[in-house]
Amino acid sequence: MSSDDELAERLRAGDEAALRIAYDRHGAAVLYLAQRLLNNRADAEDVTQVTFVAAWTGRDGFDPDRGTMLSWLLGIARRKAVDRLRAATREQRAAQTVQAQPVTPEADETPERIVDRLVVADELGRLPAEQRRTLELAFFDDLTHPQIATVTGLPLGTVKSHIRRGMHNLRRRWEVDGATLGSRSTGPTRAL
């Protein structure tokens, strides 16, 4: 599996296959974000298309030192989705239709939160299998460390260190790539 660095290099060299790899890896996340933001499947597919075309034409702008391929693509997708929402609003005004605004998303459904989730899910998927498994049991099944030890048959000390390291990995990735407090636009990453 080629790293983001290799992908970036191949993209810059004009290698279309690299875009396909990025699409295979992250197309589903881009579509998911677009669908959550636009609430419309057809528009979301359009935005996914526009995002990858923009990624291709703007491929020189991807800098692996500033964030991962996923967060770069999600950033483009988010702007494209917002552009589309704005255009839709303008059209509505132009047509002078007085319509109720789309339902205000719940507080935990902000674009930032959705991006955070996609980034953390991606990192979770990259963790070593045992680290991931223990974290999933803690996150999704709400199990305590001793319960996880029982379920997995791992020693308690191992469970603890898996969870500590796993949390550390997720947190570091979120600081590099996340949207909410990830400090890419506001300054350097805070010290641990």
Partner: protein, 239 residues
């Protein structure tokens, strides 16, 4: 001051342990631990919402097909200078069909380079002009490596562009300012005359902090005012 144990912080963040008085006392006093705790809590909260995101269904194949045709649409047919013989002379590599015009254009560019000139551009310049930002233009992949240029933003809002060894074109060379964070956003500055140096006005009000990526493109005479997708040189303005 003794910081909270990392394992303890994780337990608290996962709400597996209840905060004891000693923990809260320390967190109240220690910004580092408090910050660490907030970050871990946030990540734990986000993490617990990712169950449905582990195996997202891939987009339908029509999306990729639309991407491919979208990419093809950003390109123009190769200029007529690229003859079959020249194409055959190119080293063959595995490229999909839609890349062929680009390769042909690159070949045309290589062949055309011999005709370009480099002149001492700065010969009769008044030294008093104030430069507020500048960029060095470098050739993109398909462009001969000896092509390049310099751009200066003058205090009066004009852009002085100075290029060398640009591949000849059957169309014209156009100057753009792109937003590197969203390269689909751009400002058209104007076309380059057949001279080594040009001074072009930047539209008043243009945010040069945002539109800081200078781009020189090869534009065909097709009446399409948008960027051809054939960038030749690029460089970022710095002050």
């Amino acid at each position: 001051m003794q910081h909270l144990d990392p394992d303890r912080l994780v337990l608290l963040a996962l709400s597996e342990a209840a905060e004891e008085l000693t923990d809260s006392d320390h967190l109240a006093q220690c910004a580092d631990c408090r910050h660490e705790m907030q970050a871990l809590r946030h990540v734990a909260g986000v993490g617990s919402e990712t169950q449905d995101l582990q195996a997202l269904p891939p987009p339908p194949e029509r999306v990729w097909e639309a991407i491919e045709s979208g990419i093809a649409a950003t390109r123009r047919p190769a200029a007529p200078v690229a003859h079959i013989a020249e194409r055959r002379a190119l080293p063959r590599r595995t490229r999909s069909r839609w890349l062929t015009p680009l390769v042909a254009a690159a070949a045309a560019a290589v062949l055309a380079v011999a005709g370009t000139v480099a002149v001492d551009r700065f010969a009769d310049r008044t030294p008093a002009e104030e430069v507020t930002a500048q960029a060095t233009l470098s050739p993109l992949k398909a462009v001969p490596p000896n092509a390049g240029g310099d751009v200066q933003v003058l205090a009066d809002g004009q852009l002085r562009i100075d290029v060398r060894n640009l591949p000849l074109t059957t169309g014209f060379h156009e100057v753009w300012l792109l937003d590197p964070d969203d390269p689909t956003r751009m400002v058209a500055i104007g076309n380059l005359p057949d001279a080594p140096e040009a001074v072009l006005p930047v539209p008043p009000g243009t945010d040069l902090k945002r539109y800081r990526l200078v781009d020189i493109s090869d534009e065909p005479h097709d009446g399409d005012a948008t960027h051809s997708g054939q960038s030749l040189l690029r460089g970022t303005l710095t002050s």
